[in-house]
Symmetry: C2
Subunit: 332 residues, 2 copies
């Protein structure tokens, strides 16, 4: 792998959010603003190597869209789901891609564009994005969680993104909150995400309907219960539906218990909640806040704020650009 | 508070372990060896201010015992249970002392000896002790837990002791591992220490005896069930007693689940288990290790080591000396 130094005089950075369904590249300025972008679907059921060719394509597109040439940017940052050895630029394993074991990620991108290229886990890059340019600005102790199919986590402790011994710091979704709880996709039991993520929330609604509870939820999906999403539940709750409210209350309880643990273990100033469901607002945040006030220790809980993420879908692209920005200037 | 600079040419440091029952001061050399020490009982049901007078006495004794004068030491480090603002040298609150709210700790000691004085929570100082001179030597990512009446924690992440926003980092004993679990002394439910610390272990033994199970445990305390200690349980298990083995297996399961969480949240190279019960050896560590292998995620679990603390009762005194040592030389 050629070691390329980042160009500290570049005006822009390219940040790439490599998802299992979409690949998105953005031309980002030094204040974290996306000035041009391009996106494409990831290769259907593709391997990581095939996806990296798409990465190169969207980077070219974003550069052209912004009227920039590779020689004019500081470098490229890549946020990718999975476990990596980022110092060596290699993906160790990513559940989002077939054929992702020990795949070189940085080298093929750096060779194509001949600029300094960095990679990191996608939740950790999103955490950097929120820390530098979003809901984490001005703090030095930040926990970010992303709610979705699973629950991801990133931690800034004393101003430093924590990676741990093998880039596995803050594997929060598989924290056990119910020792003999329900099975998790990881093979374990009682993991936080098995009780508080998307699937758990939807299953609570389906079970309530199946036991004959009256709820507008069933109507809203034409009784195709498999089509219920967290959005349906949030909308029904906001319209006053009692079953939907109970589902959010119960899900909020488990979300709250996990957040209580994160507060007690990381003692942050702020917990940032990201992922689509974080847009739900008070019907979700109120139950979480009640659990935190009643169950977290006074000392760390009294001062911590629990807030929604600010960058939304852009956190990945902006955070990936921070991977480069950190090398070319003092940030935050 | 007078700001005194540590004397970098001193041969020794004074480390003080301020417990609720004993106060112990040691004259510690720069390699973490205790060359002289003194201890006294803490003031019975005393306040922190009264205990600090005992602290001054044992420091004088330790200095005399080692043939040293205050002017010849680098400084004094104090490890004290509770929540502190260590930068300001103040104890915010300690459950181990009556009258401990907002008590200046550093000032009265520094004034008496006219040397640089530092303070920190006792579990965090013990973590520093094991990190520099005990089971954590050579690592950069260390989790330490102390098993006793409660469970305390300290974390070294990327070579840095983590304090969090308000010195509450790694409040591991009140991590919830059973959402609707048994009540904890903190007012919460299902906290790790309510399921895995001393009281939980002893209560499991007592319940087994009360349901009529045959066990040598009852004989060993002359049927005064309130006298059962973890030591009795460990000894009975080592002698093959089935009830005692089940108690350790069940306790080890909950200890293991909590350690699984710490591994997934902090991704350490090593988890150091301290406190009296950590001496139990394989009857305790084997059940813990089984739970970790079966329930922790592959990536962080495959490389982490779970080991007993090496410094035993000395971790507090030695760790307190590290508070000073950090200021006078590069350590580790």
């Amino acid at each position: 792998m050629t070691e390329l130094a980042p160009a500290s005089n570049g005006k822009y950075i390219v940040g790439v959010d490599v998802g299992g369904t979409n690949v998105r590249a953005g031309l980002v300025d030094r204040e974290g603003r996306i000035v041009a972008e391009a996106r494409r679907p990831a290769v259907a059921q593709g391997g990581l190597r095939a996806t990296l060719r798409v990465v190169n394509e969207v980077i070219h597109e974003a550069l052209e869209g912004g009227g920039s040439a590779p020689g004019e940017i500081c470098g490229i940052g890549l946020g990718i789901p999975g476990w990596h050895n980022s110092a060596r630029g290699i993906c160790l394993f990513s559940p989002n891609f077939t054929d992702s074991r020990n795949v070189p990620v940085v080298a093929p991108v750096a060779e194509e564009f001949q600029v300094a290229t960095y990679m990191l886990n996608d939740v950790k890059t999103a955490t950097l994005g929120e820390y530098y340019f979003g809901a984490g600005r001005g703090y030095r102790h930040v926990v970010m969680i992303t709610l979705g199919t699973g629950i991801g986590g990133g931690v800034i402790a004393n101003g430093e993104l924590q990676l741990g011994a093998s880039e596995g710091f803050a594997e929060v979704g598989h924290m056990i909150v119910e020792t003999d709880g329900p099975p998790c996709t990881c093979g374990g039991r009682g993991c936080w995400e098995a009780l508080a993520a998307r699937g758990a929330m939807v299953n609570r609604a389906i079970r309530a309907i199946q036991t004959g509870r009256r709820t507008a939820l069933a109507d809203s999906v034409g009784y195709r219960l498999g089509s219920i999403t967290p959005i349906h539940i949030v909308q029904a709750a906001e319209a006053g539906d009692e079953v939907a409210r109970e589902v959010l209350e119960e899900t909020g309880k488990y979300l709250g218990v996990g957040i209580v643990n994160l507060i007690q273990l990381y003692n942050p100033e702020v917990v940032i909640v990201g992922g689509g469901i974080a847009q739900a607002g008070r019907v979700l945040f109120d139950p979480i806040q009640r659990v935190v006030w009643s169950r977290a220790h006074m000392v760390p809980a009294s001062t911590v704020k629990i807030v929604p993420a600010e960058l939304g879908d852009d956190a990945g692209v902006i955070g990936a650009s921070v991977l480069v920005l950190q090398h070319v200037q003092e940030v935050a």
